[in-house]
């Protein structure tokens, strides 16, 4: 039972890294639906580098770098070229899925290295994730950088005439979000589930994306949501632990995704909007065109 909860918290840790990155991205007004693709890239390249060199550090560095690079690519498409952000993000996902399957299949199998150390049965990165949530909350709410990010996400024209560079802020947020997604992917493949096989990420990037909406763009709520989803995921792997004999595990496995869909339906209702509508960055998904 303890193992179950530790494992849930570690899943939550990965959702949190990817989700917090996406949250910052969205608070700055850029929607990146390609989190899954960036995580796949971070996971696969990190896995290959670590497997070949035997260095975990190098694997994580590559994961972060490739994530940042894909973030940069998304920023270039959505901020500079002003293409539809959903199209660009879906492109990154499809691209990531195809390419990582192609280059990763040769490395199918376990990582085959000694496991990374833990603190009290938890990855030290779990505590980093919790700290990161606190830091991101503080920066967004209490600093001039956070004010700049939030203003760019709410009303880029206002930020512009107030002396904030919309382009620079949006690039910074999108690259930050990409780097964290890449790191989350590497953490998944190097620690949480160090075995490469086809579609091994199983949609975790999309769960992280949904978590941002679920959290109403609040990092603290995002952490709570991540723990809830992490638990649901573990439950889907071991349903007999809590409810023995009820449904097959394959049905349970759909639960996190069904909850995701329900959350997305809920937040798009008038009822939700009239109560919580203020939480959504008003310029989310809209390219900024100077008048």
């Amino acid at each position: 039972m303890l193992a179950f909860f530790l494992r849930s918290l570690e899943a939550a840790m990965i959702f949190t890294f990817a989700g917090v990155g996406e949250l910052v991205d969205q608070r700055g007004g850029v929607l990146n639906v390609g989190v899954e693709g960036i995580m796949l890239f971070g996971a696969t390249l990190g896995f290959i580098v670590t497997k070949t060199t035997g260095s975990y550090t190098l694997g994580f560095v590559v994961g972060v770098l490739v994530g940042a690079l894909l973030g940069l690519l998304h920023a270039f498409f959505s901020v500079t070229l002003r293409v539809d952000q959903v199209v660009s993000g879906m492109g990154i996902w499809i691209f990531g899925f195809g390419i990582t399957t192609y280059i990763g299949s040769a490395y199918t199998g376990p990582l085959g290295l000694e496991r990374l150390p833990t603190i009290g049965g938890l990855s030290p990165f779990f505590f980093v994730a919790v700290a990161l949530v606190g830091v991101v909350w503080f920066v967004l709410d209490k600093t001039s950088w956070g004010l700049a990010v939030r203003s760019v996400g709410e009303a880029p024209d206002v930020a512009d005439v107030s002396g904030i560079s919309v382009t620079r802020i949006r690039y910074a947020c999108t690259i930050f979000g990409g780097a964290l997604a890449g790191f989350a992917g590497a953490l998944y493949a190097l620690y949480y589930n160090p075995v490469w096989n086809y579609n091994f990420l199983m949609g975790w990037g999309f769960i992280a994306l949904a978590l941002v909406f679920f959290s109403m763009w609040n990092p603290i709520l995002l952490l709570g949501g991540a723990i809830l989803f992490g638990t649901l995921w573990q439950l889907s792997l071991n349903p007999e632990l809590l409810l023995p004999g009820l449904f097959s595990r394959y049905i349970w496995r759909t639960v996190p995704f069904i909850v995701t869909i329900l959350v997305l339906v809920l937040i798009s209702t008038d009822w939700f909007r009239s109560r919580w509508g203020g939480a959504r960055p008003q310029a989310l998904g809209e390219p900024y065109v100077k008048e």
Partner: protein, 528 residues
């Protein structure tokens, strides 16, 4: 620093030390701006602003006001000409440059983040707001400035909760906190209640007493020039026509300089000849987009040949009333009858076919489709009409002829009926929208802010067409935030406040002060 383009220190403090009363603060000389296509928006404009002076800039839409304002604020760079600040030539390559030199801008369409607090909006982009925000210290400084100019601001309120006057106060305080010595104000009194206007004038007096220069840009609302300004410069077709001390001129002279011909200010309204009751609204209640109560037990009836003037400050239910009548918003309680028929739940199309016409306030969002041609936009009101559509096929020839006749009758300036609607100016677009509605000879016309943002010439034209419709026996519901317009055109006046009609007043018993007090509810948030 991350995300900021300007150097850390403002030039303002040393640059603006020891300003003498009456000193020329800013002089623009020979400002010329040409746009691709050969349009000369500004043609050798000379203009100056002194300390302790309010120097108004008056011009119709298209006279080059916006271009000049953009140049003074660094959004555009002039092709020729120089700007001098206290005698030093300066160049603004961005608004940040202008702000650093002590130029403040109060936008007509407020540049504020609605979801953020007043204080966050004021701090955004301020050089003092670096790293971790020192909210308490900033709040004290901002509160001191607000108090100095007589503004009562709740620094922790969200901007979306504020009235237009309060939002404007936030912009003014933001500019002053940033160290502005010259304040440019775009249409400063539009959308303000009479009480808020008084407060603004008082704040401007305090600014000039503090050696600041104030430059209001004004399109219409000419009476305000005489209350606000010491000098006035009139622009026409990109040129300065005259610069006059305000006390030496009058409205008629200004209007003539502005338009280039004599303008008849008082539209003579022929006496009313009321016919049968056209529309009856009984105890109607409706909600706004956010789910709040927008219309609260509204009742009135209107006869053919009458104009009902719905007066009010934006956001008091007038907009929802127009939408409820046009069928764009559901009625929660109550009934609407049109020519004796219950149309409470009738569709938009049914209402059109029965003879209701609606000209929306949002000309570019609701009133027209920017990427459609004028013919297509006119078609949008006729696609169901058997005269223009046979067996589901549009009769393009007839629709084109109809559009051409609208263009001619309504004096729309356009190269052809095939240009896209978004290429027309606001006034011309409004003429197309009015034309397509009125040419159906509706029995009820709902005109939502018909003259908002139009220049004097177009305003006069639109107002005359509404009176023509009245003379032709239509009932007209005119929604306006301009009390002069309401008093001039209406037979019955309905001042609205917080979703209710305060009282239905026959026009001959109405005066501006009473109506003004009613639409302000006798109190406003700012002085509560």
């Amino acid at each position: 620093m991350f995300g900021r383009r300007t150097p850390a220190n403002d030039l303002a403090d040393e640059f603006w030390a020891n300003v003498q009363p009456g000193e020329v603060l800013l002089r623009a000389q020979g400002i010329t701006k040409r746009f691709p296509g050969g349009v000369v928006a500004n043609d050798h404009i000379d203009f100056e602003i002194r300390a302790q002076e309010v120097h108004a800039l008056l011009g119709e839409n298209g006279a080059g006001k916006t271009t000049l304002m953009s140049i003074l604020f660094g959004l555009l760079q002039p092709d020729e000409g120089e700007i001098y600040l206290r005698g030093h030539p300066v160049r603004f390559s961005s608004p940040q440059d202008a702000i650093r030199y002590g130029i403040g801008m109060v936008h007509q369409h407020r540049k504020l983040v609605p979801a953020h607090t007043v204080l966050e909006n004021i701090l955004l982009g301020h050089p003092k707001a670096r790293g971790v925000l020192n909210v308490r210290e900033a709040a004290e400084e901002v509160a001191a400035i607000a108090e100095m100019y007589g503004f009562n601001l709740d620094l922790y309120a969200r901007v979306w909760q504020l009235t237009e006057g309060e939002k404007q106060a936030v912009e003014i305080v933001k500019a002053l906190y940033r160290g502005a010595h010259i304040l440019i104000m775009d249409e400063p009194t539009s959308a303000l209640t009479p009480v808020e206007t008084d407060r603004l004038l008082e704040a401007i007096e305090r600014m000039t007493a503090n050696n600041l220069g104030v430059v209001p840009f004004i399109t219409h609302k000419m009476p305000i020039i005489f209350r606000i300004s010491d000098r006035v410069t009139i622009l026409r077709r990109g040129r300065v026509v005259a610069t006059l001390p305000t006390r030496d001129t009058n409205e008629r002279e200004l209007a003539q300089l502005l338009v280039g011909r004599e303008v008849l200010f008082d539209i003579q309204k022929p006496p009313a000849t009321p016919g049968d009751v056209v529309v009856e609204v009984e105890h109607v209640t409706a909600r706004n987009d956010k789910g709040g109560l927008a219309l609260n037990d509204v009742s009135f009836s209107l006869r053919a040949g009458q104009v009902l003037g719905v007066a009010g400050v934006a956001g008091n239910g007038q907009h929802e009333l127009a939408e409820v009548l046009a069928g764009l918003r559901p009625v929660e309680h109550g009934r609407i009858r049109f020519l004796g028929r219950d149309i409470t739940t009738a569709s938009v199309l049914e209402r059109w076919q029965l003879g209701i016409g609606y000209t929306p306030a949002e000309r570019t969002e609701v009133g027209s489709i920017g990427d459609f041609t004028l013919v297509e936009n006119v078609t949008l009101n006729y696609f169901w009409d058997e005269r223009y559509v046979q067996n589901g096929l549009l009769n393009e020839k007839k629709l084109r002829a109809l559009t051409e006749s609208i263009i001619e009758t309504y004096q729309v300036v356009t190269p052809s009926p095939d240009v896209k609607a978004k290429t027309l100016s606001g006034g011309n677009l409004q003429k197309v929208i009015m034309g397509r509605v009125l040419s159906r000879q509706p029995k009820l016309v709902i005109a939502n802010l018909p003259a908002q943002g139009l220049d004097i010439g177009a305003t006069e034209f639109v107002q005359r067409r509404l009176l023509d419709a009245r003379a032709a026996g239509a009932a007209v519901i005119l929604i306006s935030e301009d009390l002069d317009e309401i008093l001039m055109l209406s037979d019955i006046i309905a001042p609205m406040y917080e979703g209710r009609i305060v009282q239905l007043i026959p026009a001959e018993q109405a005066d501006k002060e009473t109506i003004g007090a009613m639409i302000a509810g006798g109190r406003t948030r700012a002085n509560a």
